[in-house]
């Protein structure tokens, strides 16, 4: 059996899993198309994230464990781009906040300039310290009143800067840009050092991005969440009142409520598939281009590539920013799909390490592998819980119903997920490090 057939069969298998989930309720399958399409949609988003990580790891050997942060920035972009502008936000503090942020940025730029231009010594330290401390207090002096002014606007519903009220599809590239900016900052610092340092730095920035989103209410309403974000298609309720839609649904023999939810989900599936295919195509083109070959040459032998005059750190920065931007786009798509931004739910285990499992299982260095791994692992991530519950029921079937151990074991099945994902990662790394679809 040649490789292409084998790999096509793998994709067919994943498709079959989704179809089974929609059609039969036997075992782990749910038997509803709503659930099946839900898995597919998040699977597609995961596949895009995996594609971004694969760009960094598979092509360049960069170890990014801050995917969660870039994803969250994408989500933030959705809020900032699409949500309706808060009335009075700009006059009550918005301008002050922007001014404060600009001032803060200028302070940092000034500090960098001083470090670069002045000769090292006591004088430089003193001036640098004065600029940083003075800048910080000036920043706080403008920032704090502006924030309290802004957050005072109808805090139960608004209390944040709001957005630009632009169409939601524009938010996706904006999410990519935001993530790219953060990635540039990290890459500039940590690339060119030991590989572990990038890992630690990305882990850190992700935590901080989440902390900012949780606490800066003026920006993202923090843990109060932003709900009711606009969608790229009509809402279910609107559809259910549209006579044309009802007629079509009736002609297909579908209940109007079910038909409307399926309509929304299928539209998402199509949109996401289009984005995925576009990014996949670009990644493939990139991989085959001289640029992609150079990247892999650098990955395989940095010293040799450097000796041939390649600026390794610069190339790494390039691909790191690109990969993170893709994660940002995926994050924006995910927030759009959810229709809300809930900073409290971002968890590194789910948003960073799960993506890594996808890339490793799919086959690092192979774009198709990343896509396959993304959808497949997402399917299992959803299904590990019913599987674990089934297993636990089986294991504990011998125990008395009122046994404390039994109830503890049954209650803890949710944590089986982490354990299982870790196990899968280790097993694949050990026994099949090239993954399901190996790099060519």
């Amino acid at each position: 059996m040649n490789a292409t057939v084998k790999h096509s069969l793998m994709f067919a298998f994943v498709g079959l899993l989704i179809i089974l989930d929609g059609t039969t309720s036997y075992g782990i399958f749910s038997g509803t198309w709503n659930s099946a399409l839900g898995i597919l949609n998040m699977g597609l988003v995961s596949a895009i994230m995996a594609l971004g990580v694969n760009l960094q790891w598979g092509f360049a050997g960069l170890f990014n464990i801050g995917i969660m942060g870039f994803t969250a920035l994408g989500g933030l972009a959705v809020v900032l781009v699409t949500s309706a502008p808060t009335p009075g936000a700009w006059s009550e503090g918005g301008i002050g906040i922007i001014m404060a942020l600009v001032l803060g940025a200028m302070t940092v730029v000034a500090a960098v300039m001083i470090t670069k231009k002045m000769p090292p010594g006591k004088q430089r330290m003193l001036i640098l310290g004065a600029v940083l401390i003075g800048g910080f207090f000036a920043y706080r002096a403008i920032f704090d009143p502006a924030v309290s002014g802004l957050e005072a606007i109808n805090p139960a519903l608004l209390g944040s800067l709001g957005g630009l009220g632009l169409p939601v599809l524009l938010a996706w590239p904006a999410g990519g840009l935001l993530a790219a900016g953060a990635a540039w900052l990290i890459g500039k610092t940590a690339l060119g050092l030991r590989s572990d340092y990038l890992a630690i730095a990305t882990l850190g920035i992700a935590e901080i991005i989440i902390a900012v989103m949780k606490n800066e209410d003026w920006l993202s309403r923090g843990v109060k969440n932003v709900v009711g974000l606009p969608r790229p298609m009509r809402k279910e309720i609107v559809l259910q009142e549209d006579p044309g839609f009802l007629e079509t649904a009736a002609s297909l023999g579908l209940d109007p409520v079910l038909a409307s939810t399926l309509y929304v989900k299928i539209t998402y599936s199509l949109l996401f598939t289009a984005v995925l295919l576009a990014l996949l195509w670009m990644s493939q083109m990139g991989l085959k281009s001289p640029w992609g070959r150079m990247m892999r040459a650098i990955r395989d032998n940095e010293v040799a590539a450097e000796a041939m005059g390649k600026d390794v750190t610069r190339r790494h920065l390039q691909i790191f920013v690109l990969g993170s931007a893709i994660c940002g786009i995926a994050g924006a798509m995910m927030t759009t799909l959810d229709g809300q931004l809930t900073p409290g739910t971002y968890n590194p285990l789910r948003f960073t390490f799960l993506i890594w499992v996808m890339v490793v299982v799919g086959g690092s260095g192979n774009n198709f592998g990343a896509v396959l791994g993304g959808i497949l692992i997402w399917f299992f991530w959803i299904k590990v819980e019913p599987m674990g519950a089934g297993l636990m029921n089986f294991v504990t079937s011998g125990l008395a119903d009122d046994s404390a151990l039994k109830s503890h074991l049954l209650d803890s099945t949710a944590h089986m997920r982490l354990f299982t994902m870790g196990l899968i990662l280790l097993l694949v790394l050990r026994f099949s490090p090239r993954g399901l679809i190996p790099e060519k």
Binding site: A190, I200, A201, G204, I208, K214, V360, L426, L429
Partner: protein, 336 residues
């Protein structure tokens, strides 16, 4: 009098908590730095090793409490600690045997080790949550305070109280004892010196007849001890929650890198640098300044540089500065 009040407030809210937290970070960073020195990778499962050791200690503590065993004014957890250490040693040696050893024999790149340690972290995390659940657990008992704020006020007549928690004094004393024992071991014993030699120059250590597998085994055992002690002290001082222990990775790594990865002395210094920065940057200085400044200059804002929600940003900021200007750390670390 006001100056005294200011000093007491500073000690109470900044110095004591930072010293206790710094000791906990230092012990954690020592574990990370030892693994880095000997096995040459950043062990991302360290936070979860700490969580595992603490969990076992908590379970044994609960059992002891139910049996009526206690240490009087001291927390029972101290009695349960050796069991936690032994269990963690067992777990770490087991993971080394079934996971890391394979890659060592393959001479895999460090980044592969890091990735593998992520998988281990995942599994340990799942294991801990599976056994004890994801929630908050408090397990300290015995006397809560050596000096409570009220007693202190009564004793001195000052307006400011000074509280000194039992857990804080235990943390500091234990940390000092552990660090002295560790340095004695590394600098005075044959096995300790062989660990340093292996960390310094692997090939030459092999030529000198040092058995790498023994060195690795001892390293994991010591790291298990350090991780469990750090975890239990942190849990006694604050509380135990698996996710918090995972998050401790960031300040711990920052401490180890600031001090210079692979350098034990640096890990200790780094731990205190991070702890003091974190506590003093997130502390609201209003009270202290209020005592020190003349009436009309007293600040009306909290004078808090960053809200406590951003304490990780402090470790991260320091980390970035060190990476930018001195990637080998303040003390000489092993490599860039």
């Amino acid at each position: 009098m006001d100056l005294l009040n200011a000093i007491v407030a500073l000690t109470n809210y900044v110095m004591i908590p930072a010293i206790a937290y710094g000791s906990q970070l230092a012990l954690g960073a020592l574990g990370v730095t030892l693994i880095y020195g000997v096995l040459r990778f950043s062990n991302f499962a360290h936070g979860d090793s700490m969580a595992f050791g603490t969990m076992v200690t908590i379970l044994v503590t609960w059992w002891m409490q139910s049996m009526g065993i206690n240490l009087g004014p001291l927390p029972t957890a101290l009695l349960a600690l050796p069991f936690g250490i032994l269990a963690t040693m067992g777990l770490l040696l087991f993971t080394d045997r079934v996971v890391y050893k394979f890659y060592r024999e393959q001479k895999a790149k460090p980044v592969i080790f890091v990735m593998v340690s992520l998988g281990v972290m995942f599994m340990m995390n799942g294991l801990v949550r599976f056994i004890i659940g994801p929630g908050d657990q408090r397990f300290s008992d015995g006397e809560r305070f050596i000096i409570s704020a009220r007693d202190f006020k009564a004793m001195t007549g000052l307006r400011e109280g000074l509280a000194f928690k039992t857990s804080q004094s235990i943390t500091v004393i234990t940390a000092v004892v552990v660090v002295i024992a560790l340095f004695w071991f590394l600098n005075r014993t044959r096995t300790g010196k062989s660990m340093r030699a292996y960390s310094d120059n692997e090939d030459l250590a092999l030529l000198s007849g040092i058995n790498p597998e023994r060195v690795v085994m001892y390293t994991w055992m010591i790291v298990a001890g350090l991780a469990t002690i750090a975890g239990v002290l942190y849990g006694l001082d604050k509380s135990f929650k698996p996710f918090t222990y995972f998050q401790l990775l960031l300040p711990i790594f920052a401490s180890a890198i600031v001090g210079g990865l692979g350098n034990p002395l640096g890990a200790i210094a780094g731990g205190f640098i991070i702890a003091f920065s974190e506590v003093s940057i997130t502390y609201a200085w209003k009270k202290v300044l209020g005592y020190m400044m003349p009436e009309n200059l007293q600040p009306d804002s909290l004078v808090q540089l960053l809200s406590t929600d951003y304490k990780f940003a402090v470790s991260f900021g320091i980390l970035l500065i060190v990476l930018l200007f001195k990637p080998t750390g303040l003390f000489k670390g092993q490599s860039v």
